[in-house]
């Protein structure tokens, strides 16, 4: 029996690999050390950080900050410093994307079921959902946050990447040992390995998840994140529509790539750029080029 307190550790070459589940994703922490106890300490710290962030920002838990905001039904809310920073980042994303990246757009998803079936979107439902979407409708002055009743906040597009960066920074503060923190495919290397060799990261083919890497990326340090999900789509009039919704129209973004992977200094930056690229639809590749970003685009 594996006790809750002991993360599963496996020796692979000259690193220890710790595995656990958090944020509904398989998580992996690679620790570049020979000392199992050091590795276990770091894996446990990373897991604690992932679960702390999950607990705090999950829409599905009744003890989360998000739940408290929703339960306030439009009442003014004074978030703690970390939540305030995340709201600030969400505001910046909205501005920089011209309204495409919107943490209030989660409501829209209820109008769609991305199970691959032929969907007949209900225009009335989409219109109703759109009435509860739109970052400009919230009030946020950096201290007090007000979310109109009926609207919802969803950090789903940011939380995992933020947790990766936060955990990696936490581990770097604890120990000089280099770690690769990977939460469900979004990852960051917090330092170069002790032998100077890069971390090797494989990116899956969205059509053949788990069957072999589409790319092998050498990472000294920095973040890597992927946006897009091959398994979540609907078909409409014979066209395959991905699950990335345009909060301005309520419809999936036309001609969106299947997935975009971006390499950047932090995981959250990589993840946001990948999402922004997908939201550009056919313009994903041009967007990455214009931003001077190293990325990989898999077309639909």
């Amino acid at each position: 029996m594996v006790s809750e307190d002991a993360p599963r550790l496996e020796r692979l070459g000259d690193v220890w690999v710790g595995r656990f589940t958090a944020m509904a994703s398989p998580c992996e922490v690679l620790v570049d050390t020979d000392r199992r106890r050091d590795a276990a300490d770091l894996v446990r710290a990373a897991r604690a950080e992932a679960r702390r962030i999950e607990r705090k920002f999950s829409r599905y838990r009744d003890d989360s900050v998000v739940h408290a905001i929703h339960a306030g039904r439009g009442a003014p809310f004074e978030p703690d410093a970390e939540t305030a920073r995340l709201l600030g980042y969400a505001a910046a994303c909205f501005e920089l994307s011209g309204g495409l990246f919107d943490v209030t757009s989660g409501v829209l998803r209820r109008a769609w079921t991305f199970d691959g079936a032929e969907a007949a979107p209900d225009d009335a439902r989409i219109a109703e959902a759109l009435a509860h979407v739109g970052w400009p409708r919230v009030e946020w002055d950096g201290r007090t946050f007000m979310l109109p009743e009926g609207m919802e906040l969803d950090f789903g597009g940011l939380g995992k990447e933020y947790a990766v960066d936060s955990a990696a920074a936490l581990l770097a503060e604890r120990s000089p040992v280099a770690c690769l923190v990977n939460f469900g495919g979004d990852l960051v290397a917090n330092a170069a390995r002790r032998d100077g060799a890069p971390w090797i990261v494989g990116v899956d083919d969205p059509d053949r998840t788990g069957e072999g890497a589409l790319y092998r990326i050498e990472l000294q340090h920095g973040g890597l994140a992927t946006s897009g999900d091959a398994r979540r789509y609907v078909t409409w009039r014979g066209k395959r529509l991905g699950h990335i919704l345009d909060p301005r129209t309520g419809w999936p973004v036309a001609d969106a790539p299947r997935s975009v992977t971006v390499l950047s200094t932090t995981c959250i930056e990589a993840g946001t750029l990948a999402t922004l690229a997908i939201l550009q639809g056919r313009g994903a590749r041009a967007f990455l080029e214009a931003q001077g970003v190293t990325g990989w685009v898999v077309d639909a």
Binding site: L12, R36, D41, L96, A168, P176, A191, I268, Q291, V297
Partner: protein, 426 residues
């Protein structure tokens, strides 16, 4: 269809603004921590290891050996290690004299005499303390080469050893292979407690107080990462020894050609040169959580001694706080060309002769285990190692004469070792 887009030189406006927003989100401190981690890996640190070893042979030797080692790792990856050892040895060791049908009297290193009953193996009592200091400095040169130099000094009542060593290790093929070259030299002085006795005499003094013994050796090694889980290594060493290579306290019995009873004991005589070679092949395999170590060593020298040694250990971690590592070792050694069960009176005296059991045919089996654990109240890790060793030689050789045939000339010895260790790093 996929395509990689490559970073253009100009940084886009969205990206720049996003990076600023991200650094605010990650509270500055966190991002700085990530950026500085690469440098933190070079941070200086300390490692301290210590152990206490208790070794006992039933009715024979007892050894108490405390050891302490401290390592300082400097910021550029160089390190300095200092180790201090102290041994206290008390007990008795076979003198080389054979059991006999008559009562025998032997002399101890300090000049006392000891009498053993008929049929018993004569042992020499001794008591000694030894102090040793070892220093080692390792320095990376560039990114692929490491130079290591070291030296040791040790002193006991009748023995002083001084040595130096140097080694170069090169990592190649993406660090999948390592090549090592090493050399060492030793200068020892043996000062028998009651003066040096002439070889093949009962008790004639040579008048020489101290005797020099020298050694130098060369080492060539390689290791290779075969798969993600498997590391294979091979090392060869070649050493030369010259000078006083005899043991000043060991004797060879003279035997009555008919009865086989001992008639006396002559101080042994060994050649004054020895060439030793050995080849070691080792494998480390990482299973899912266990790690197994397997090695085989073949040793041969120009005294005619050949030895095969196999060693197997497997480490199992229950969790990060405790592990167990069982250990088993087999060794078979053939006897030296001049190993003797006694010189028969009236026969031609050989050029060299020894009855030191360590140069005779010797089989050794060792079984043991190490258990490592943490105590919440003590930093670092504690290890306890227990080992049982059984050693036996050729007890009833064909060459035995007369009453010798009725005695076990190389009775088995059982020994136990208990070691307590404590390691901590900061």
């Amino acid at each position: 269809m996929q395509l990689k887009t490559t970073a253009a030189s100009a940084t886009g406006s969205v990206r720049g603004a996003l990076r600023a927003a991200a650094s605010v989100l990650l509270a500055g401190g966190a991002v700085a921590a990530v950026a500085s981690a690469a440098h933190a890996a070079d941070a200086p640190r300390w490692q301290f290891d210590s152990s206490g070893l208790l070794y006992g042979e039933l009715h024979r030797t007892t050894v108490v050996e405390p050891m302490a080692r401290i390592t300082r790792v400097f910021s550029k990856g160089s390190s300095l290690t200092a180790q201090v050892d102290f041994d206290a040895i008390t007990g008795a060791s076979p003198s080389g004299a054979q059991p006999s049908g008559v009562v025998q009297t032997t002399t101890t290193p300090s000049g006392n005499t000891k009498t053993v009953p008929a049929g018993d193996l004569p042992l020499t009592d001794f008591h000694d303390v030894r102090g040793a200091v070892d220093l080692e400095y390792a320095q990376p040169i560039g990114s692929h080469l490491t130079a290591t130099t070291g030296g040791h000094w040790s002193k006991e009542q009748d023995y002083r050893s001084l040595g130096g060593r140097a080694q170069l290790s090169l990592e190649v093929f993406q660090r999948l292979s390592t090549f090592t070259l090493g050399a060492s030299a030793n200068a020892d002085v043996i000062t028998p407690l009651d003066g040096t006795r002439a070889a093949f005499t009962e008790d004639d003094r040579t008048g020489v107080d101290s005797n020099d013994k020298h050694a130098r050796s060369w080492l060539v090694g390689t290791s290779r990462v075969m798969t993600r889980r498997w590391l294979l290594g091979a090392t060869g060493t070649y050493s030369e020894e010259w000078g006083y290579l005899s043991d000043p306290y060991k004797v060879v019995s003279t035997l009555d050609p008919v009865t086989g009873h001992t008639t006396g004991a002559l101080h042994e005589r060994r050649p004054d040169r020895r060439l030793r070679r050995d080849v070691l092949v080792s494998s480390v395999y990482h299973h899912t959580t266990d790690v197994s170590y397997l090695s085989y060593r073949y040793y041969w020298d120009d005294w005619g001694v050949q030895a095969h040694t196999g060693d197997f250990r497997i480490r199992h971690d229950f969790d990060e706080t405790h592990f167990v590592q069982p250990h088993v070792r087999f060794s078979h050694q053939g006897e030296a060309d001049f190993y003797s069960y006694g010189i028969v009176e009236g026969s031609a005296k050989p050029d060299f002769a020894t009855s030191d059991y360590r140069l005779g045919m010797l089989n050794t089996v060792t079984v043991g285990a190490t258990y490592g654990f943490d105590l919440a109240s003590v930093p670092g890790q504690i290890t306890v190692r227990g080992e049982f060793m059984r050693q036996w030689g050729r007890g009833y050789p064909d060459v035995a004469v007369g009453s010798q045939k009725t005695y076990n000339l190389a009775p088995g010895v059982n020994t136990g070792t208990l070691m307590l260790g404590w390691s901590v790093g900061w």
